[in-house]
Symmetry: C2
Subunit: 346 residues, 2 copies
């Protein structure tokens, strides 16, 4: 991706992409095929929310199975499409994810693109979290197949740490689709008799009216850091996450939820009173109460802020997301020491 690659459009609202897609097909859609898993905890909630706001209804979203690492199962996707068509529904969109919120999973985009191609469906990739990995020569293979997408959402305010909010919607389309779908031709705001090319005005292509110029901070950052600087930023987060994982394996109080493939390090802190108790009847229940207590303690101490959540059938675990570019190995050590200190009496 060259430094000067233009952003086709910026949009802070996930619903925008959906409205767009609905209009593209110009048909009454009554079903949408979406990525997800059988457990609603694993889908990004914005997908169903978007369907609700657009008047499609949450029932129009079909949830596809994910494997044990949270990746969409393409065979299940195809089954859903066939089932939907048999029911008389009109599938039109598949939303795959590159970098899920909790586990940091990357869907198999090549296989999903094959399914979309067979059935003539629009492929959207929600790369809000994982899209920045494309800047890394080492790790970009995680997104193999994204070049076949019809649309991609990407948040430079996440892994690249651009200031909130900075969201890009990238489209394969070259027919000025956003303008055709969203343009309201409000002549009192978007004058056509200007002395420069009014195609440069983005105001009439987006959902909002008055808004910040969110692309400027990305442009400035990219100019300041260069493609190489941003690549280093991405590679560094992977290295820090790897270091954290290896250090956890050396300490008895830490248990990984799974070996991460991205920078989401999901783990339980197992306090002294619970060590060696796995398999006991109330072990899971007691373990799930540890993270909220530790979170309260770290917030009140003011030392750290690490998110936690339940996930599917698994109780509360921490999700350390290594994204801040100023983090160091020493910070990783501090994190581990601090959790041990805060949880030593549990």
């Amino acid at each position: 991706m060259a430094d000067s690659k233009p952003l086709p459009a910026l949009n802070g609202n996930p619903a925008a992409a959906e409205a767009l897609l609905q209009e593209v097909f110009g048909i009454v859609v009554d079903e949408a095929i979406r990525k997800g898993t059988c457990a609603s905890e694993k889908c990004h909630y914005s997908i169903k929310k978007g369907a609700a706001f657009l008047g499609l209804g949450t029932d129009s979203v079909r949830v596809v199975k994910a494997d044990e690492r949270g990746r969409m199962v393409p065979e299940d996707l195809e089954q859903h499409i066939i089932m939907a068509e048999a029911e008389g529904a009109v599938p039109f969109l598949v939303s795959a994810t590159a970098g899920t919120t909790v586990l940091g999973a990357f869907d198999p985009l090549e296989a999903i693109a094959d399914v979309c191609q067979r059935h003539g469906l629009w492929l959207h990739v929600d790369a809000a979290w994982g899209g920045s990995v494309l800047l890394s020569q080492t790790h970009r293979h995680l997104l193999d197949g994204i070049q076949r997408a019809d649309s991609v959402a990407w948040n430079p305010h996440k892994l690249l740490a651009a200031g909130l909010q900075c969201s890009a919607l990238l489209l394969r389309d070259t027919s000025n689709l956003l303008k055709r779908c969203h343009g309201a031709q409000a002549s009192y705001l978007f004058q056509q008799d200007k002395f420069y090319d009014v195609a440069l005005d983005t105001g009439d292509k987006v959902v909002q009216c008055g808004r910040r110029v969110d692309c400027l901070k990305l442009w400035l950052m990219w100019k300041a850091q260069g493609g190489q600087g941003l690549e280093q930023r991405v590679d560094r987060t992977f290295a820090l996450a790897r270091y954290l994982v290896e250090e956890m394996k050396k300490r008895e109080g830490f248990e990984l939820v799974m070996e991460p493939e991205f920078v989401n390090v999901c783990f339980w802190f197992v306090p002294p009173s619970l060590r060696g108790q796995r398999g006991c009847p109330d072990y899971e229940e007691r373990l799930s109460k540890v993270a909220p207590v530790l979170k309260e303690r770290m917030v009140k101490e003011g030392s750290m802020m690490i998110g936690y959540q339940p996930h599917g059938t698994q109780g509360n675990f921490f999700r350390m997301v290594v994204a801040n570019p100023s983090l160091t190995l020493a910070d990783m050590d501090f994190l581990l020491d601090e959790l041990e200190r805060l949880g030593q009496d549990l």
Copy 2:
């Protein structure tokens, strides 16, 4: 309005209010009654855009007549409601405007509230631009009746000059409506087992997911300036607009579109070659070409930025909006002198 008055909810997206209202009524709505005029140029375009995004369709928006000053005609509103009901439609919302974009008109809210009360309709007031006038004891009468609204949208980033974006949606409701309508209960993001009252979490009440804390800048500004400081800011913009209007009357090159009731000063600059030509066959056409030329010149000089637009049957005129709190009387004089200088050869 006390300095510490809490904001029930903040939301940057006009569609949010609409979705909300749709859900409130729990019915399939096929018609919405909206403020506007017979000329689409006079309605704020976000209303129709919102209807499109929500799947209601732009045809569900009925456009009510405005008087010669751009204020909604309550009698025409009631006629539209009666007509819609006769056609089997289900009117559910009236959107009135306090401070229209171009003319700065304030709809007669008391009379509109009477109509809404008679027909059991939700009254929304789009006070994005004019809402800040409530802070002024002198001018708040412009919004008489707003206390009867079910919902009010207000943009402190406009007249109060808070940084973009800062938008408030104020609701009469006390039943946690936003949570009930928008809540997606994504347990992996909005944990319920926190050590503080999770009712304070606004994340699950709004359209967006990750977003800036837009209320903080308003809160800080309010604390720093106080209610009196903000009142002075509002009163000062009225005084500057009044000064500008009176000075325009003294110069032959300026023609007011109408006597303003707010801080939108709408005027034509009539260049030397057109003075005294009013009534000539091509006068309107030639006059409408003046503003784009002057705009180009001021932008290239870097001296000013004044918006212009056509409006209804009227050709391009300038709209000077006096909102920047650091503007002075000398700036108003500069504006007039600069327009005369830039347009002296036209």
